[in-house]
Amino acid sequence: MNTERELDRIIEAWMEDRTGGPRPDALADALDEAYRAPQRRGLARWFPFGLAGDGSLTDREHGRRQGMLVGLSGTLAVVAIVMVGAWVALLGGDVFRDTGPVPGSGDVLVVGPGGDHATISAALAAAEDGDTIRILPGRYAEDLVITKSVLLEGDGPAEQVVLEAITDTRIDPETGEETEFLRGPELRDTNAVVRGLTVDGLGLANGSYLDAGIVITGGSPTLESVRIPRDDGNSSYDASVLLRSGSDATIRDSSFGGAIVAVGGSPSIIDTDVDAIYIGCPLAAGTDAVYVCAPGERALVQDNRLHGIRIDTGASPVIERNSIEGPSVDWAMPIPNSGILIWGGASGSGMAPMIVNNSLSGQDVGIEVFGDADRSLIEANDLSGNQTGVLIDGGDPTLNSNSISESVTGLVLEGSARPVLNGNAIESNVLGMSIARFAEPEMVGNVFCENVTNIKAPGREPPDLSDNEVCTDGSAS
């Protein structure tokens, strides 16, 4: 046995011979056991992937032009977006539309022992837009669908005002089957404010995997200081808050053990502790694999503390000043887990995701750009102590002024990635940057210092680094 090829042949023949295969009944036994348990219907319900069916994602030239546009400084771009957002809001009439009385400006109805009403449902029935429903400490197990613009407020510590989840059913749009799931209150086409309470009782007790602590459909409601603990301990796919298509909800200063799932709309998620956030777009009418947000729709995810954010095809959120620490969220995909996963992105809405001033650590991959059409702006983020700092596999994002340090590999360019890299500090990693054979980065003003090895470019010539600073303590190879 002398050559590598001979070793291959010996190992392969040995592996082929050493197995006896399964018992005749082994598969039948496995299927019997499998069918005893229901399928886990996780995020695929909300974000089934359809990249292959979305032809708009492959327009690379369009992507490059957009990439140049988003190459503006993050600050200027954020300001521009805020201004454009305000302009769009003005044109849309939001500013001048009569949205009814402000929640909390009307009468006060007290719910609980000794109050005006024994149940929240009764208070809701009696309330008018603008009223306050003040809930005394206790546990309330009610099927709540809130359509009025009221203030629903806990009267006491949020831990002591508990809305218990109830069992609901839904019709699967694909199969027509009825499925049970657990949910807390639903806010439907309302500007209601929910403040200072807990939604509890979610989990897998009934074998459902569609649970949602609060369901928001349309409208512009606000959740403030709301707690939704995670009680099953193993299912980040359950949504603490599910924002269905078209909601512009604001969520702030809250604490969720599960995920926030946002499908379309322009929600704002601010200063909240949450396991993970998923941002996607609804299925386009008449299609089964095209996900499109409406023009101008853009979520804002700001100042939160969480483990991961996933941005799906078509969504273009602003992700700013979040602390995203490991362990990484398992995105249930055959790619490495990551702190921020950008999958596709930048279609339909006409904008690109912006990832600015975030801190990511302890992740398998800090930021991962996957798919073929991403034009994201990734700027001024601090990525330290991850296995891989940034992984770009396809697409052409712009990376400006990021700090990528103390990782096994700082920056990995896979596939035919064509990122623009400006002014990034890639320091104190085992390997600064790895460039695959067909990757074509544009690199100016980046610093590679104090890496054990600065750059590896296996099977190809190293890139032109004449406009970058490469210290001599690591060797370009």
Partner: protein, 187 residues
């Protein structure tokens, strides 16, 4: 694998899933048997894999990736089996480290025994990469994607595993080979 079949199974169609499982099960079992070196453990892993596949199939984003996804699930089941059961190790102790009856005229047998001993000494993660590479025929990039590990890690595990197997086959020359065990290959 027919994506339509996968899509139907994702919607809860047991017939469709049965067809998928029938098409894959023997191969998944052999993958597990190769990784674990024990038919009973392999059966547990393959069966657990089928159960996990059924339960988690709705989460699979891309039906085209069903096959590689199924390998990942079974490899993970193998990791779990290897952790909770040590039976395969007891099998190793039954085998003599040096077989005095092995001669050059029975080279194939010698190779098998030497490979078996060398393979069983490897960490299960290295065994998984070797099996996916040599038995399933995946590329390193496909292995990395399937197992959700960095490609450098896949490369490193394959390199170390092959090095160990080569060393077991060339016991006499083992000292002359470079020692890669302390090096993690990254790229």
């Amino acid at each position: 694998m027919d994506p339509e079949l996968v899509t139907r199974a994702q919607r809860g169609d047991e017939d469709a899933f049965g067809q998928l499982a029938t098409a894959m099960f023997a191969r998944l079992h052999r993958v597990a048997e190769n990784i674990l070196g024990d038919r009973d453990l392999a059966e547990d892993a393959a069966q657990q894999g089928v159960v996990q596949m059924w339960r988690n199939l709705p989460k699979l984003r891309d039906p085209e990736r069903f096959e590689s996804w199924s390998y990942r699930i079974v490899v993970n089941a193998c990791y779990a089996e290897a952790k909770k059961a040590k039976r395969w190790r007891s099998g190793l102790s039954d085998r003599p480290e040096d077989d005095p009856g092995a001669t050059a005229e029975f080279t194939g047998v010698v190779y098998r025994d030497q490979l078996e001993r060398g393979f069983r000494r490897l960490p299960v993660e290295q065994r998984a990469v070797l099996v996916l590479y040599h038995y399933v025929g995946l590329t390193l990039a496909e292995i990395a994607s399937t197992l959700k590990i960095p490609s450098g890690t896949a490369h490193s595990r394959l390199y170390k595993g092959r090095h160990a197997l080569r060393a077991s086959l060339q016991a006499d020359d083992r000292d002359a080979l470079p020692d890669a065990s302390a090096n993690e290959v990254v790229r």
